[in-house]
Amino acid sequence: MIEVARLTRRFGALTAVDDLSFTVEKGEVVGFLGPNGAGKTTTMRILAGYLPATRASVLTVAGHDVQRDSMAVRRSIGYLPESVPLYPEVRVDEMMRFQGRLHRMSRGTLKQRIGETLDRVGVLDRRKQLVGTLSRGLKQRVGLAVALLPDPEVLILDEPTSGLDPIQRGEVRRLIGELASERTVLLSSHILAEIESVAPRVVIVHEGQMVADGPKDELVNSLGGDGGHVLVEAMSTATPQEMAGLLRALPGVTGVDVGERVGIHQAFAVRGEGDLREDIGALAMTQGWALRELTWRRPTLEQLFTRLVTGVDLEDSASATASGAEPFTGDSALPIAQPTPDEPAPAPKPLPLGVPGTAQPKTIYSLNPFDRGASRDLSKPVSVDPLPIDLDGADAETEGDEPSRGDGA
């Protein structure tokens, strides 16, 4: 239904779309993903006939060549740009009538389709309202209704949930989900979670080039998100190696990575056939392990995408902040060191949180601009007496980490 091969579009020296190729079959719903400036909007504008392509070997929509038969393409598609272009001074049904006339719909068909379409998107009761007085969410719905009015074979929706609140987003997503069952839909977003919920297939673009294309589950696998693992954090009197041996002996387990100690708990990543939490839970119960964490972890498309595009692992940064521990997922962060019986387990790293009940050195930073000792080492005794005011030697007190203050007390 949509066929794009070797599509390139340049704006002066900037190449917005670079040799992009993909196809969308009839009845398929494809999410077009990429960060801002990836070339999504440019590609959609080219497909809708708004922008010409600098070069393309194949560029067809609904069986019509976009470059040679733009009018036929425009008649076959419903295109909703990100800005939701509607005339603010007209009423909703007038806007719909204008769209119908542009598509040369007969008066009778138009009347019937306006009612049907407005009802479909849930704005039938607003048909007499001025477009300019509608909320952002309602405008989005009316924009969708305008695009749907001529009953197009292909729907091209550019960031259809942009600028909406979470409730409106959910409504628009549900609406698109319903439409998806009847039409070929190409929709773009830079929010992957949104696309994941609507489009079974995803095309990821970055800097005008395709990074990945396929069903999202396959993409997760192909982009390095393997079958996932169960994260176990447990406390036991047994050694980590003994615990790992027991875990490895479970049916379906293909590998166990011994992680770090997190406080009094030992972390493991258990890989195997699918989600093994029930078996691991049962093992923990029989062995008397105190479980702190038992989580099925699989990288989301968003994490993989971010890793691909920016090189930063979302989960790394997020979980490191949350727990203070190195997570298992993420290629660079994986502390995979399969301990063998001959080889001793790697020495545990210093605990970031320390042992409860013991005083830990801590440096605090003051935001008070008048606090001239801006940071100080709390492990050292600090005088609680007022500092002697030494007008002549005031400079000495401006030193940030001045040990003499504590020592002199």
Partner: protein, 262 residues
Amino acid sequence: MNGTFVVARRELGGLFKAPFTWILLLVVLFLNGALFSLFLANSQGNVSESLEQSMTGLAFWVWMIFLPALLSMRLIAEETRSGTLEYLLTAPVSDAAVVVGKFLAATGFLAVLWTSSLIYAVALDGVGGSPDWSAVLGTWLGTVFVSGVFVAIGMLASTFTATPLLAAFLSMVACVSWLVLPWLAARALDYILPLVTTTPEGRDALVERVMGVVANMDAIRHFQRSFRLGVLDSAEVVFFVTWTAFFLFLTARSIEARRWRG
């Protein structure tokens, strides 16, 4: 053709829904009426002379420069700003249909605006005055043709910027230039031509030929020598229609260039 009328119809509807248009209409009708009474008082009740003055005098040309510019400034610039241009240019209508549709709407609106003078003529005819109907109707038609050229210039200016007021300013400068340039060129050539020829005969022939060309470019002269007299000369109609078509063509090209610029 269908697309052109669909666009024109929406544009005309949009014009009549905008408060700005009604304010413009009110101000123009009020000032036109006041000027007409003034002309009537000055000419001791000479109906034909007053009508002629109100449709061809200096005030008329000032209107001619301001009104089409103010009306056409929104046509493309506003749509660029609001994003509706993308909607129109991806609708199943050609760029030419969009441009001509918008042009017809704005020119049609101005044609309605200029009928105020016709209404004065009808009113005066009713109370016993005797306006020269052929001159009145000819002038009205000529006014519509000139408005068409200025709207086309305004639309072209409107494609260059997303700021309507800047578009209006550009349009006014362009309209004044279009009106005044032939006159300025004639004055300049008066000095230049004698310098490039040696013999008096050659100079006279050259001056006559060049001045003929320059005079043919003078829009005011074209307007005054036919429409104002109540004569519908096809050559004059072609002159204005050609200029209008030329500026509309440039407008369509400018929109096409915008597609390439992105």
